[in-house]
């Protein structure tokens, strides 16, 4: 028997399936400079597109003179809105039910807006031509403050005001003002007001989550190639959702969907930046159709930061109530959401503020109410989920700051306040006051593990001593302890309430087993660094009993991959990962019938064992999956079709709810505002763990993006609507020098409804990390009377906080 056990273990190991730290199959090409990113694509006769962009944030366009540009040798065309109008392509629909100008139609609404599109023989000539296009602007009053926008007489979007001056409903109902987009309400308004009015303790705060940008290292871009001979359009691009892009291109261009092939090649990071459809894509497609040759468009960094896909910009005003003992009784949140010049937020259609209604967080809050007002301003459109599920980072930041403020109000320890309010393990599935049904969780176990790991009481004692030392003039450094317990909502989502432009947010996997026992699987998602080719093969290896090394994973080509909604919002594992497991199980079901036939027993008399089907009670009688695969192609089996293939489209019954407990310890120099992160402990519970190496890598990366956002990264505008952070000189991306080493830990609470119990992890560290860093900064000054200070906590702002608290003597 001992032999048998060893053999079984070695067979499991040989698969490289779920749970092992499999090395990445993607790395060979990337480490040798053989990745294939969109700007690496070079086609015969390919032209380059480049944009003339508005220097003004709000202006009327009086005229555009393209003659000098057209006269330049090597310039093929200069497109303006007038050229696109006959095609109906001067405007395009946004993902949020609004519409957006592809090229400026009479006016511009933000600095950097696309005004004309130059097509030239190379990128240098295109850049020269951009300089030669003469645009005559008439400046208009600029609004960069959403609160001012709601009071101003200045109409930003004349196209959304009827001729009689009335305001037609928007995509999400009535509008209160010409610069108002929507109001979205969830929860019980009256009941919450009553709870707050009669509460023993109420804490109130306004929390601004500043505008920032996902800024992947590779900017957005595409290559459009219209083959006029066979009528087919091929579009390569940095698309996080290639199938959705195909459908959108078909709908707006009128080209039938079967004649469009969208390919996402290797993508150099996405983080939400590459979900949307941008004017560059539309103009490149039009230019290729017009010229009959391929056209490439690649953003430069400044264009990327200024125009495609900002994130956040939420003003969140909250009230949280509790008993004197600290039991939370109610929560109210009002958001003023700055959406910029067009509402191009990438959210499921029915959720104009994404899943902001997860803002009750990890806590058992009986009564709550949320209202969000979307507002137009003279800023870039976007509102994407930068390394988070839809607006979840805003929600978690809000509740985790409110908890800290409440702790101050109660004069209570913030860790203990969290502890007594966590949703208990026995309450799952838990129906939250704002509608979601949390599938599973064990918050107390995770929290206690975290507190023990960092010696929380010891840290607080050290901090108290530091405050004494500071007051006694022995040190100029304060110590901050940042706490966060986050609950994410990812894996969008159930088709019954989640769609984008009417496309249900299911996902898919198609598997073909080859005769010799290897396989290819294709998915509707697309990796941008997450390592799908590695991890999805691991899921399949465990499900179908063939080695992960014998399974190719392919994504991103709409001609070959099954339809899916792509990769963002941590949805790949929860949705496509489930489809992969279920498609694998279909393979296994057929394999079982083949095995039974080969072993000459009834189907029910064989069972799956790692990499084979064995006769029940007679383990020496078996057929390996490799043998079964061959039989599927070379034997005529009565009642069974030849071949071994399966496809699964998975419509998730619920979202998944990853959670985690984070602790950050930092020293702050009150005289310079500099921050030294001494320790960062991150415990993540993402359910079943597919590849611990990759999970750890995702956590490191997400925390670093969180550090950036919390401690300095922002898209800032001046009062004229000029972007002040348009290059990497001003827009903070941390380097190896600024980033600490992180300690990672985990608990495992599998999702009860997911086929393999996995919940998704890529965004958790960002969602949990931002409040954790911010709480640490705020906490450092708690002993000196600080309640809340806004992010980003760069050196200057921290210095200012210290100064306002009188700490500079």
């Amino acid at each position: 028997m001992k032999d048998e056990v060893t053999t079984r273990e070695s067979r499991v190991d040989a698969l490289g399936g779920m749970g092992c730290k499999r090395k990445r199959v993607e790395d060979a090409r990337f480490t040798q400079g053989k990745g294939n990113y969109v700007d690496d694509i070079k086609l015969k006769g390919m032209l380059f597109g480049d944009f003339v962009r508005s220097p003004y944030a709000h202006a009327r366009i009086k005229s555009i003179d393209t003659s000098a540009a057209l006269a330049l040798d090597g310039v093929i065309a200069v497109l303006t809105a007038e050229d696109l109008r006959p095609l109906g392509l001067h405007w395009m629909p946004t993902l949020a039910g609004d519409k957006q100008m592809v090229l400026a139609d009479g006016k511009v609404l933000f600095q950097g807006q696309e005004v004309a599109y130059v097509v030239a023989k190379d990128r240098y000539i295109a850049a020269d031509a951009v300089e030669l296009v003469e645009v005559d602007y008439e400046e208009l009053p600029v609004i960069v403050d959403p609160f001012e926008a709601l009071k101003s007489d200045v109409v930003l979007r004349e196209d959304l005001v009827a001729e009689d001056g009335s305001l037609p409903d928007g995509a999400h109902g009535p509008r209160k003002h010409h610069n108002h987009i929507f109001t979205w309400e969830v929860g019980e308004k009256e009941a919450t007001t009553q709870v707050l009015d009669s509460a023993e303790v109420v804490a109130e705060e306004t929390v601004y989550y500043h505008r920032t940008h996902p800024c992947p290292l590779e900017t957005c871009g595409c290559v459009a190639s219209m083959d006029k001979v066979n009528g087919k359009l091929t579009l390569w691009g940095t698309f996080q959702a290639p199938h959705a892009i195909r459908t959108v291109v078909s709908l707006i261009s009128g080209i039938e969907e079967h004649n469009i092939r969208v390919i996402s090649p290797d993508i150099g990071g996405g983080f939400g930046n590459k979900v949307g459809a941008y004017p560059g894509y539309v103009c490149s497609v039009v230019a290729s159709i017009v010229t009959g040759v391929p056209v490439k468009w690649i953003e430069d960094r400044m264009e990327n930061l200024m125009t495609t896909a900002f994130a956040r910009d939420y003003w969140m005003t909250g009230k949280i109530s509790a008993t004197k003992e600290g039991k939370i009784t109610g929560l109210q949140c009002h958001v003023t959401a700055d959406h910029g010049g067009f509402d191009a937020c990438a959210d499921p259609t029915k959720f104009p503020a994404g899943f902001m209604n997860i803002c009750t967080g990890s806590y058992d809050i009986p009564t709550a109410y949320l209202a969000v007002d979307g507002v137009y301003t003279n800023k870039a459109p976007g509102g994407v989920s930068y390394r988070c599920s839809f607006r979840v980072t805003e929600a978690v930041y809000f509740i985790e700051r409110m908890i800290e403020v409440l702790a101050i109000e109660l004069n209570m320890d913030a860790a203990e306040l969290r502890r007594i309010n966590f949703i208990r393990k026995d309450q799952f599935p838990y129906k939250a006051a704002l509608g979601w049904e949390y599938d599973s969780g064990d918050y107390h176990t995770a929290w206690d593990k975290a507190m023990k790991a960092v010696d929380y009481d010891g840290l607080r004692a050290e901090q108290a001593q530091r405050v004494e030392d500071f007051k006694a003039g022995k040190t100029r450094k304060l110590m901050g302890i940042g706490l966060t317990h986050f609950t994410e909502i990812v894996g969008a989502g159930p088709v019954k309430n989640c769609d984008i432009l009417g496309l249900g947010m299911f996902d898919s996997c198609e598997i073909r087993i080859h005769p010799t026992g290897s396989a290819i699987a294709r998915l509707g998602t697309i990796s941008q660094g997450q390592g799908h080719a590695t991890t999805f093969a691991q899921i399949l290896a465990t499900e179908i009993g063939l080695p992960a090394d014998s399974i190719t994973i392919e994504e991103g080509d709409t001609d070959t991959a099954p339809y899916g909604l792509g990769t963002y919002g941590s949805r790949s594992t929860p949705v496509a990962g489930a489809a992969t497991a279920l498609a694998g199980r279909k393979i296994r079901a057929k394999a079982q019938m083949i095995a039974a036939y080969l072993l000459e027993v009834h189907d029910d008399d064989v069972e799956f064992d790692v990499d084979r089907f064995v006769v029940k009670g007679a383990p020496e009688k078996f057929k390996t999956m490799k043998e079964i695969a061959f039989a599927a192609y070379n034997q005529a089996i009565p009642g069974i079709e030849p071949g071994l293939e399966a496809v699964s489209y998975y419509d998730p019954p619920n979202m998944t709810y990853p959670f985690g407990a984070y602790v950050c310890v930092m020293d702050i120099d009150v005289d310079t505002g500099e921050v030294d992160i001494r320790r960062f402990y991150a415990l993540d519970d993402c359910g079943t763990r597919i590849n611990p190496m990759i999970i750890e890598g995702q956590v490191h990366g997400g925390l670093t993006e969180a550090l950036a956002v919390a401690l300095g990264q922002e898209i800032a505008y001046d009062e004229m609507g000029n972007v002040k952070t348009g290059t990497l000189m001003d827009f903070f991306l941390p380097t190896a020098w600024e980033v600490p080493n992180y300690e990672t830990d985990h608990t495992v609470t599998p999702s009860p409804h997911h086929p393999i119990g996995a919940k998704g992890v890529g965004e958790s560290p960002h969602v949990g990390g931002v409040p954790c860093f911010s709480n640490a900064v705020n906490d450092a000054f708690r002993a000196f009377g600080l309640r809340h200070t806004h992010m980003p906590h760069d050196h200057w702002r921290i210095w200012k906080t210290a100064n306002e608290l009188g700490l500079h003597g």
């Binding site: 060979a28 040798d73 000539i125 992947p216 430069d300 490191h700 990366g701 990497l728 991306l733």
Partner: protein, 164 residues
């Protein structure tokens, strides 16, 4: 369009000779003209390091070097560091220690690291972090990049010791 210049370069051991506008950026020479697409463009302002190459023995960001400035130079890119059958120790170490995710920064990162280890074959973690601060990665948080470089240094030193 300005007058073209006669340029000679040695790239990854191969002599290259061509006419180019002096304003052509070295990164475009490599990527567009020579088809060497390992080095990438991330910022065009010298901040991100995705375009890092070794030029006359120094780590250089090729997005802010005119090809005219590089005339006569000896250049090594990621493609010149190793081959599929004979990988550079760093190429193996980055895979082994999960030092990359999307891969976009990786060629510049490894090219820079190779130079760093030439300059300082036995760096501390702090020296690696400082020496790599000109190369930005958005995915990994650097922890595993630092680990990969330290592991490569240790391995290179072990090989050198064994040879001595």
């Amino acid at each position: 369009m300005s007058k073209k210049m006669h340029i000679t370069l040695k790239v990854n051991g191969e002599e290259q000779e061509f006419l180019a506008e002096p304003r052509e950026l070295l990164i475009h020479t490599l990527r567009e003209r020579l088809g060497i697409t390992g080095p990438h463009i991330g910022c065009e302002t010298s901040h991100c390091g995705a375009c890092t190459v070794t030029l006359n023995g120094k780590s250089v960001k090729s997005c802010t070097v005119f090809v005219a400035q590089a005339d006569g130079a000896d250049i090594t890119t990621i493609e010149g560091l190793g081959s599929p059958d004979n990988l550079h120790v760093l190429q193996t170490a980055f895979k082994e220690h999960h030092g990359l995710q999307c891969g976009f920064c990786t060629p510049g990162m490894i090219t820079r690291a190779s130079k760093l280890l030439e300059e300082n074959p036995n760096p501390t973690e702090e020296e690696v972090r400082f020496g790599m601060a000109g190369n930005i990665c958005r995915c990994t948080g650097y922890q595993n990049i630092v680990k990969s470089i330290l592991a490569a240094a240790a391995e290179m030193n072990a090989v050198k010791e064994a040879a001595e």
